[in-house]
């Protein structure tokens, strides 16, 4: 048995020597800025603003619900190499980003470091900020307000300009390039706004029932009439009573479109749509969630196309 101890001791000794001899990777002074983004939407912005001056890594793939990303240590390895971290903020990543940052041990993206970029700081207004007492009886609510602003392109214009400024502060020699690309991308998004709004105009005469508050900013931007949420306490499965209430409410109002993300539990969503005779729009939750939506503009194109399709085809998915 002693041989086991010796083997283990030698193995650990080798690992210690290896980790001490080789310094952890860090950014080259003249190389591209290493950027990690928690969400694929923020990664799109980083790529658009950074161009060839950045290399971008996404922590939460577009097809995964960002509330529940497993905090894999391999993600902390990516964070350990980052010069900048773009995160959504408003506690969206509270369940996995703190332990990843802890494990990453990277002072460039720790609290207070210039590389730690909270994109919610770019927002003028946050929706759904609780006005009264907050407790967990209300479900997994976010005390600082609704964090799902990336589905609103108006707010992402602000985020783009903000990221351009922050990249410039991190990498002053290329600040002008970051600013120019940020302004160009913001102009591109501004130019698409009327197209997307026009495409979804038919939805403004309908009522919208959301599965989760993921789409509140989208509805705010498009001026849609939201009649409620199927998941009436965020993160908690709806009760049979609430499901029945939503069916009855949808039937009474008529002309209802139910909007859900592709990662939601769709059984109950489809049941309500079927019983209430409502249209159903199942949308990619973030860019990259489905093929052809890797770019943020393509993602918004697809979102608005599906919403328009649901508005034009009552009672269908």
């Amino acid at each position: 048995m002693r041989i086991r101890t010796r083997i283990a001791t030698v193995a650990v000794g080798l690992a210690v020597c290896l980790s001490c001899l080789v310094a952890p990777p860090c950014a080259a002074a003249d190389g591209p800025l290493q950027v990690a983004a928690t969400l694929s939407d923020l990664a799109c912005v980083a790529r658009a603003v950074g161009g060839a001056d950045v290399e971008v890594t996404v922590l939460c793939p577009g097809g995964m619900d960002p509330h529940y990303l497993p905090a894999k240590p391999s993600l902390s390895r990516k964070l350990g190499q980052a010069d900048a971290l773009l995160f959504n903020g408003l506690e969206l990543e509270i369940g996995w980003l703190p332990p990843l940052l802890e494990k990453a041990r990277n002072p460039r993206v720790r609290d207070g470091a210039p590389g730690l970029i909270d994109c919610s700081a770019a927002l003028d207004a946050v929706l759904d900020v609780p006005s009264g007492p907050v407790d967990r009886g209300m479900g997994d609510i976010h005390p600082q307000g609704n964090p799902h602003y990336t589905v609103d392109p108006r707010r992402m214009i602000d985020v783009t300009l903000f990221v351009g400024r922050r990249f410039g502060e991190l990498d002053p020699p290329r600040a002008a390039a970051y600013r120019d690309r940020a302004e160009a991308y913001a102009a591109l998004l501004r130019g698409r706004l009327p197209v997307w709004q026009e495409r979804t105009a038919g939805l403004r005469t309908r009522h919208v029932l959301l599965n989760h508050q993921h789409w509140n900013y989208l509805c705010d931007w498009l001026g849609l009439d939201v009649i409620g949420e199927i998941e009436h306490r965020p993160g908690i499965a709806p009760s049979p009573r609430h499901v029945q209430d939503m069916v009855e409410k949808s039937r009474a109002l008529g002309d209802v479109v139910i909007v859900a993300a592709n990662w939601d539990h769709l059984d109950v969503v489809r049941e309500i749509a079927s019983r209430a005779g409502a249209s159903l729009a199942i949308l990619p939750g973030h860019s990259g969630a489905e093929a052809g939506t890797d770019d943020y503009v393509a993602f918004l194109d697809e979102l608005t196309r599906r919403l328009a399709g649901a508005a034009a085809a009552p009672g269908k998915e």
Binding site: M1, A8, V12, P70, R136
Partner: protein, 380 residues
């Protein structure tokens, strides 16, 4: 080596923070609450009944453990965690033996389980932890009770590492190994207070762990870990000093359906524990394997097995597999309802099967758990 704290001290410790937290940041006292630590409380209850054992210990319902946790940034250099636990003493690795004897299995102690500071920014990506903490041996021993896959630790872990993990005072250094996959090495030196060590010996205990983790698919990982723990071993009074060494190997596979929140998920963990001591005169070893699967939004099914073998046994029966030693196996099956991240309800059936003349033990358990306050996210 118990750290026993009277309840009054515990309350006194918590009260100022709780009192300030109840007020807003601009309080009538003029004291800001903004710098208060994150505070959380977790309580775990367990009801058990045995078909074969009519003792109070095997047929009871009560508190299994309550933990109060404080976490805060200390200053630009350190983050601190304090975990105060109130739990059953019997089988614990550090506690008041007198209390256990006086109250039998139901005796409870209050215990500082964790009191540590973590360095916030060391050069070269190094991590440093000072204070009292769980030793990073294997996958199960570092877990808090409310993180267990089943109502109790696996038989092999209970036998060789204690029922409640190993918490020790000392220093730990962590470093990421620059390999193409995630690789971390941890080395530590501690006081050697845990039950498995010789309390009379003043030598330090030390150990290390090396973890490798591969992303075998976008939402699946395979983790391989090796652990080593060395310290002063138990010995007879006035007998020669002997060393105790425990090595371990663990393998964990995790998969989650990335396309659906709360969708199907699988966690499979297996661990081999190899104590190595001349005092035993045998070559004991133990193992466990746990499989957990989320098959519906809020429901997990668990299947576990554990075994110990070649443990020295002076009173071996005539039908022992190996005269002078014995072997036990344990099987567990549970169903856990998890309505949210902050509560769970578990039903479990477990069987311990000694391969000797002793009778099997078949138990049915019900465990429930809740967490209130700002509880830090668990590690992967």
């Amino acid at each position: 080596m118990c750290t026993r704290i009277p309840v009054a001290i515990l309350i006194a410790l918590a009260a100022p923070a709780l009192g300030i937290a109840a007020a807003s940041s601009s309080t009538v006292t003029g004291i800001s609450s903004l710098m208060n630590p994150a505070i959380s409380v977790n309580a775990l209850f367990l009801g058990e009944t045995s078909l074969n054992d009519d003792s109070d210990e095997a047929n009871r319902i009560g508190l299994q453990e309550a933990e109060m946790q404080f976490t805060s940034v200390v200053d630009p250099f350190w983050t601190a965690d304090l975990v105060i636990a109130y739990h059953q003493e019997a089988g614990h690795d550090h506690g008041d033996e007198e209390a256990a004897e006086a109250g039998g299995a139901a005796a409870f102690v209050t215990d500082v389980e964790v009191a540590r500071i973590r360095a916030r920014s060391l050069p070269a990506g190094l991590g440093l932890v000072l204070g009292k903490d769980y030793l990073p041996f294997g996958k199960h021993a570092p877990l808090h009770t409310h993180q267990f896959a089943f109502t109790r630790a696996p038989l092999a872990v209970r036998t060789f590492l204690g029922d409640h993990g190993l918490t020790e005072v000392g220093a730990r250094v962590e470093a990421t190994v620059p390999l193409p996959w995630y690789s971390e090495v941890v080395a530590y030196a501690v006081n050697g207070d845990a039950e498995i060590f010789d309390a009379h010996d003043r030598d330090l205990a030390w150990g290390a762990r090396w973890t490798q983790l591969w992303d075998v698919a976008p939402t699946a990982t395979l983790e391989l870990g090796g652990s080593l723990l060395n310290g002063p071993g138990a010995r007879e009074p006035d007998g020669p000093a002997v060393g105790l060494s425990v090595s371990g190997l663990d393998l964990t596979y995790k998969w989650v359906d990335g396309g659906q929140a709360h969708g199907p998920a699988v966690v499979w963990t297996s661990e081999l524990i190899l104590p190595d001591t001349a005092a035993f005169g045998h070559e004991p070893w133990g193992w466990y394997s746990h499989l957990q699967a989320r098959f519906r939004r809020n429901l997990w099914l668990g299947l576990g097995a554990s075994g110990i073998a070649d443990l020295p046994h002076e009173e071996a029966g005539p039908d022992e597999v190996d005269a002078g030693s014995y072997r036990w196996d344990e099987y567990r099956l549970d169903l856990t309802f998890v309505p949210s991240e902050y509560s769970s309800l578990r039903a479990e059936v477990s069987a311990i099967v000694p391969q000797s003349s002793e009778a099997d033990d078949l138990r049915f358990s019900l465990q429930w758990n809740f967490t209130i306050g700002s509880h830090p996210a668990h590690l992967y």
